[in-house]
C-alpha cells in the first residue's frame, strides 16, 4: 500500500500514477510519493551547491582566480586588506554549505552501487572525497580567515598563510586523483551501462589535471605556478567541463534508473513522460 516500500520489480507501477494537472500539484506529488525523490533531492543539492560555491569563492571572497606567488609581502598584505569583509562573508557561506558535498559524494557512490561491480568502489570514493574537503578546502579557508582577522599581523606571518592557502587549493591532488581513478575504473568495468565509457575516460582527464598541477609546489612564477596559465587556467577549463558533464550524467542516470540490478535501460527515443 505504501508507495515508498514497493519491491524493485514493481517500481514502474509507482511511476505510473503521477496526477495530471497544475505543475505545483505534480511537483508536490513527486516530492511526497515519487520513488526517485531522494535521488532528485540529492541531485538538486549538487546543483545548488555549485551555484553557491562558485559565486562565493570567485565573486564575494575573490580568492579565485588566485593571486600570484611572486608578489612581495606588501602586495600580499594589501590583498588581504582588500578582502577583509569579502573573505569572512564569502568563505563563511562556504563553511555553511560545505556539508552539501556529502550529498554529492553520496549520489556518486550510489551510481557505483547501481553498477555491476563491488560495493568497495562506492565506499572508497565516498571516504576519499569526504576526506578531501579538509585539506583541499576547509583548512585553507580557515587560513584565509585567520589572515584577514588581524590587519596588524606581521607580514611574514601573513605571507605564510598566503602560501598555505593558495598552495592547498591547487596542490591538494591525491584525493581527487585517486578518487577520479576509482570512478573511472568503476565505469569502465561496469556491465550495467550506468554511464557511457567516454565518461569514464573523462574521469581520466580530470585525474590528469591533478598531475599537471603538481609543479605548482615547485614554481614561484610562470605557467606552472599555482596561478599559472597551464596549472590553473587550463586545468580549470578541463575541470569545468568535467563538472558540468558529471552533473548532466547524473541527471541522465536518475532519469534512466529502474531500481533494478541489471543493465540500465536507455532513455526512450521519444520524450519520456515518467521522470
Amino acid at each position: 500500500m505504501s508507495t515508498v516500500v514497493t519491491p524493485p520489480e514493481s517500481g514502474s507501477n509507482a511511476e505510473a500514477t503521477p496526477p495530471s494537472g497544475p505543475t505545483h500539484r505534480r511537483i508536490a506529488w513527486h516530492l511526497r510519493h515519487g520513488p526517485k525523490r531522494e535521488l532528485w533531492l540529492a541531485w538538486s543539492t549538487l546543483v545548488v551547491f555549485y551555484n553557491l560555491f562558485f559565486p562565493m569563492v570567485f565573486v564575494v571572497a575573490q580568492v579565485q582566480p588566485p593571486p600570484a606567488p611572486a608578489w612581495d609581502l606588501a602586495t600580499q598584505v594589501h590583498y588581504f586588506h582588500e578582502r577583509h569583509l569579502g573573505i569572512p562573508i564569502g568563505l563563511g557561506f562556504i563553511f555553511a554549505i560545505t556539508g552539501m558535498t556529502a550529498v554529492n559524494n553520496a549520489l556518486i557512490a550510489y551510481s557505483m552501487r547501481r553498477m555491476s561491480i563491488s560495493r568497495a568502489f562506492g565506499y572508497s570514493y565516498l571516504l576519499i572525497y569526504s576526506l578531501s574537503a579538509l585539506p583541499g578546502l576547509l583548512l585553507l579557508c580557515i587560513a584565509l580567515i585567520v589572515a584577514t582577522l588581524r590587519p596588524e599581523r606581521d607580514p611574514k606571518v601573513l605571507g605564510w598563510l598566503y602560501d598555505f592557502a593558495f598552495l592547498s587549493f591547487d596542490g591538494t591532488m591525491g584525493v581527487f586523483l585517486i578518487g577520479s581513478l576509482i570512478w573511472m575504473v568503476a565505469i569502465l568495468i561496469d556491465k550495467n551501462r550506468v554511464f557511457p565509457k567516454w565518461f569514464g575516460y573523462l574521469n581520466l582527464c580530470n585525474a590528469l589535471t591533478e598531475v599537471v598541477v603538481a609543479p605548482c609546489w615547485i614554481f614561484g612564477r610562470g605557467v606552472l605556478a599555482w596561478n599559472g596559465q597551464i596549472a590553473w587556467w587550463l586545468d580549470m577549463v578541463v575541470f569545468g567541463v568535467y563538472q558540468v558533464t558529471f552533473i548532466v550524467m547524473l541527471f541522465q542516470m536518475i532519469r534512466r534508473e529502474d531500481f533494478g540490478t541489471g543493465p540500465m535501460p536507455d532513455l526512450p527515443r521519444k520524450r519520456a513522460t515518467a521522470s
Binding site: R37, E38, I89, N105, S130, L149
Partner: protein, 261 residues
C-alpha cells in the same frame, strides 16, 4: 506481528542478513554518556572556555595566557583529554547511520550522505585541538606566533560546523522521508535537527569581527553554537538509545515468533 511494511522494507533492502547483526551496539551506545562526562570535564578544565578568551586580546596578553604557570597544565591536560576522546562522537554518528539505513527509503543515499559527514566535525576539532596544544608547548615562543596559533585554534573550533550542519539537515530530511507507520525517529527529532542546523550556521561567519555576537567569544559563535552541539548530543543520544533498544526488542520478538512457529 511486526509491521508488514517494515518487514518488506528490511527484507528488500538486506536480503542477505536478516536480522541485522547488532552485537556490541549497546556498548558503543553507552560510550556516549562516558564521553559526554569526559568532554564536559575537559571543557570546563580548559581555562580559555569559561569565560571564552576574547579575540581582542593583544599578542602579549595571549602569550601571557599560555605562560601562566598555573593555567598551563590545565590547558595541556584538557587538550590532551580532548585529543584522546574527541573522536568518540564517530561511533554514535555511525549508529545513527545504521538507523537511517532502517528507514523506509527507496535508496541508501541518506545513509551514504550521513556517512560522508561523520568524520568532518571531529577531524576539524582535532585540528583546533592540535593548535592549542602547539601554542601551549612552547609558551616562550614569540607572542605573534602564539597569537597566530591561538587564532587558528579558535577559528577552527568555531567554524567546524559545516558537517555538523549537514548531518542535522540530512537526518531531518531522512526522517521526513521515512514513510512508515512507526518511523525510526519521531517527526519532532527532524524539526529539532533543523533548529540545531540553523543555530550552528552563524558560527561560520566568525571571521567577520573581533567583537560582537559573531566573534569567537560572542553569543552566536560561542554560546549558541556550543549549547546547540551539547543539546544535540544529549537529545540525539537519548533518541538514538530509544531507537536502538526498540530495534533490539523487535528483533527478539521476531526471533521468538519464528521459534514459536
Amino acid at each position: 506481528m511486526a509491521d508488514i511494511g517494515e518487514n518488506v522494507a528490511e527484507g528488500s533492502r538486506s536480503p542477505r542478513n536478516s536480522p541485522r547483526r547488532i552485537d556490541g551496539e549497546l556498548i558503543l551506545l553507552w560510550t556516549l554518556p562516558a564521553a559526554v562526562i569526559i568532554w564536559a570535564s575537559a571543557f570546563f578544565l580548559f581555562p580559555g572556555f569559561m569565560p571564552p578568551m576574547s579575540p581582542t586580546m593583544s599578542a602579549d596578553q595571549v602569550a601571557a595566557f599560555y605562560r601562566d604557570a598555573a593555567a598551563l597544565p590545565e590547558i595541556r591536560y584538557s587538550m590532551i583529554v580532548f585529543n584522546w576522546f574527541g573522536v568518540c562522537l564517530v561511533p554514535i554518528l555511525t549508529l545513527i547511520v545504521m538507523q537511517i539505513r532502517r528507514m523506509a527509503h527507496r535508496t541508501p543515499i541518506f545513509s551514504y550522505a550521513m556517512l560522508g559527514c561523520v568524520a568532518g566535525g571531529p577531524a576539524l576539532f582535532l585540528v583546533a585541538n592540535v593548535c592549542w596544544l602547539l601554542a601551549a608547548f612552547r609558551p616562550e615562543r614569540s607572542p605573534e606566533l602564539t597569537q597566530l596559533l591561538n587564532d587558528f585554534a579558535w577559528i577552527t573550533f568555531t567554524i567546524l560546523v559545516p558537517f555538523l550542519i549537514a548531518q542535522s539537515v540530512i537526518l531531518a530530511v531522512a526522517i521526513y522521508f521515512d514513510d512508515q507507520p512507526r518511523p525510526i525517529f519521531s517527526r519532532w527529532v527532524a524539526h529539532f535537527n533543523l533548529l540545531v542546523a540553523a543555530a550552528l550556521t552563524p558560527a561560520a561567519f566568525v571571521g567577520l569581527s573581533l567583537s560582537g555576537p559573531l566573534a569567537w567569544d560572542g553569543v552566536l559563535s560561542f554560546w549558541v553554537k556550543n549549547v546547540a552541539i551539547g543539546v544535540w548530543v544529549v537529545v540525539m543520544g537519548v533518541v538514538l538509545g530509544q531507537a536502538v533498544y526498540r530495534e533490539r526488542a523487535e528483533i527478539q520478538r521476531r526471533g521468538a515468533e519464528l521459534d514459536g512457529a
